[in-house]
């Protein structure tokens, strides 16, 4: 673990990116678990996907590791697919949320208990 003063004078490593990714992931997971608004749950999913993307980019970056050449552009291509699938997921989940809102008149996920889950 680098002290903070060292972080200003030396290039950062993969671990620092992983920590930022961990913050995004944890915030997204908490958002999914605690928000009562269905759109809020969707925002949490976007945060989780972004944390994963950040890890993909960090492991494939030649500026952060010596042996990033093994991965090459795999990390960046994977994160592009994640971005596209996140867009698709947002579209479908939003359509479902709008349907739920239209038929029940609420957006509170706690009220969606018709399946007795």
């Amino acid at each position: 673990m680098m002290p903070l003063a060292n972080m200003l004078t030396e290039p950062v490593g993969v671990s620092h990116y992983l920590v930022v990714g961990a913050v995004l992931f944890v915030c997204g997971a908490l958002c999914m678990a605690t928000k009562r608004n269905a759109i809020g749950v969707l925002l949490g999913i976007e945060l989780v996907l972004n944390g994963a993307n950040l890890n993909f980019i960090a492991f494939g970056s030649p500026y952060l590791r010596n042996d990033a050449g093994i991965i090459g552009l795999d990390g960046q291509l994977m994160s592009l697919f994640v971005i596209v699938l996140a867009a698709a997921e947002a579209a479908v989940a939003l359509a479902i949320a709008l349907n739920f809102y239209n038929s029940f008149g609420t957006i509170d996920v706690d009220r969606a208990d018709q399946l007795q889950g």
Partner: protein, 194 residues
């Protein structure tokens, strides 16, 4: 004489701070409109981190698709569903406390995992970073999506991504048709309102 401050690291701290602070704000805030705005800021700062890691194309796509597309979709969702009583929905204090505890444990676990491998935490030296050739990634990514890898000089047998690209394309088409079908306008509003 060498600059005492390494500027990319300073910008890393700046963007990482913005991304993390706004991500925490998304969780803490109870107002859905503010949450959407905080998420925009967090994702834009993440795009800055992508640029710093040398992923210029992915960073641009992050801004174009995520900040410009997906979030506009979500903001539409917010606007279509935000009546007064749904704008601000509070979570109970007990649940927030539980979530904070679980989140802190999960974050500590990930923190120790991130620093457990010495090669990851050390990083390169300044001289090594300066020796990395500047390589724009748009062309190699485009070739990779078409099935030809031009980036892996040290392992020429790496496969391209043509099949995955096709699958994702068809998946996106199906998903968008399905979303349009699900969200189509109804003439008669259902009567199951509680």
């Amino acid at each position: 004489m060498e600059d005492p401050i390494y500027w990319p690291s300073l910008f890393f701290l700046l963007f990482a701070g913005i991304a993390c602070a706004f991500a925490v704000a998304v969780v803490v805030s109870a107002n859905i409109v503010r949450m959407a705005f905080y998420l925009v800021m967090s994702l834009a700062a993440t795009a800055g981190l992508f640029f710093l890691a040398g992923a210029d194309f992915v960073g641009a796509m992050q801004i174009l698709i995520y900040v410009g597309g997906t979030l506009v979709l979500l903001v539409f969702g917010v606007m279509l569903t935000s009546q007064d009583r749904f704008i601000s929905m509070k979570t109970s204090r007990f649940e927030l406390g539980m979530a904070a505890g679980v989140g802190a444990c999960l974050f500590l676990l990930l923190w120790f995992a991130a620093f457990s491998v010495p090669e990851w935490s050390r990083g390169l030296t300044r001289a090594e970073v300066n020796a990395v050739p500047l390589q724009p990634t748009a062309t190699p990514i485009g070739m990779g999506l078409l099935g030809a890898r031009v980036d892996g000089a040290d392992s020429p047998d790496k496969a391209g991504y043509l099949l995955i690209f096709e699958i994702v394309s068809v998946h996106l088409l199906v998903v968008l048709i399905g979303a349009a079908f699900l969200a189509r306008a109804r003439y008669k509003r259902s009567t199951i309102v509680e």
